[in-house]
Symmetry: C2
Subunit: 216 residues, 2 copies
């Protein structure tokens, strides 16, 4: 038993009246979403470090025990939140990849959309940046998995572009990895945060157009 | 008068016997180098945060007052050290840029050399990474200036390549900025530290060769 599991079972034994004996899957999902939404609001407002599971419970009029029915720890809530945000950006990427325009245009829009999402979602609010740093430092697998999935989408587009004669014949997976490397300044939250106030001539579109030429 | 200057003058008034009344420029330079070398050794061994100016003085058999003759604070020593390391990597870049080979070959070697220097100098020792993080966070101007100088070297090579017909006609400065952006995964110490253990197919040479195609 981990420290958190012990803590959870201790808390549950005190609040046993509060915990439903059986929860149908849809009610469970509703609760998960309610908890994530409250957590996101509080993390954004007070910061990740300063928000406790008790704060989230209080905000929802729940007991902490009820929260621990769904998430083993604050870090698990954070992980689920990060995953939800990353899923949303992958949904945008899939929508874009299905469009009936050239592979070049879809790749261009892919990187510009991911850039916009990173800037808007992650940097407009200072407190969210703190969450991102914690996520990068502690929950590497969620981020790593996201990077792999985006890279697969890009590889698919490169492959289509090769098949259509838009790009020269080349190893699509290797090219996709190089292309994602070349556009990392547009999508990496820490680099974006560092460079936000730098004086630059190259716009995100300039960098993407430059990198895409390498495929031709 | 800043806090450090007050501290410095207070210390000097106690150790006045220790401070030479007039120091010829070459003796001054010798002392600066001795202090920087001791500081580098101690920072690397004990870490930047744990090393004090008194430690550096003790290591050299000097009084702290003597150190404060040359550097106003520990942060100034750190800044001078960072500058010395960055100067060394710029010297490598200038040597490479002068070679009588194609611009493509010089650009390729430029990025691979900078990658090797970053990996070797900055990451082989854990304590040096701490110094880099402090440098990036606090002494942005030294780093920023270094980036601008490297970018100017790259722009010169792109311009030569355009003149020689190796690259298509294009805005050399804008292309150089895009090229430096595209190779940031090879030269940014924090990105390198994050990606060091990631499983990747693209080697540094793959990424550089890919990015260089965009110039053609």
């Amino acid at each position: 038993m981990t420290k958190n599991e012990i803590r959870q079972s201790l808390i549950e034994s005190h609040y046993v009246m509060d915990v439903p004996v059986s929860t149908p899957e849809d009610t469970r999902q509703e609760n998960v979403v309610r908890i994530l939404e409250a957590a996101e609001r509080l993390f954004k407002h007070y910061g990740y470090a300063k928000t406790t599971v008790a704060d989230i419970a209080k905000d929802l009029g729940m007991s902490p025990a009820n929260i621990y029915r769904f998430f083993g720890s604050k870090s698990e809530i954070h992980k689920a939140l990060a995953n939800r945000m990353l899923e949303a950006s992958r949904a945008v990427a899939w929508e874009n990849a299905k469009r009936a325009v050239s592979a070049t245009e879809r790749l261009r829009d892919h990187f510009l959309q991911q850039h916009r999402i990173t800037v808007e979602t992650l940097l407009h609010e200072n407190k969210v940046h703190e969450m991102v740093v914690v996520a990068i430092e502690e929950q590497w697998s969620v981020i790593e998995d996201h990077i792999m999935q985006l890279r697969a989408i890009v590889a698919g587009l490169v492959e289509e572009g090769i098949a259509m004669g838009e790009f020269r014949a080349q190893d699509a997976e290797l090219a996709a990895e190089c292309l994602c490397d070349c556009t990392v300044t547009l999508c990496h939250p820490q680099i974006i945060a560092e460079c936000l106030f730098e004086t630059r001539r190259a716009t995100p579109a300039d960098v993407v157009d430059f990198a895409l030429r390498a495929l031709k």
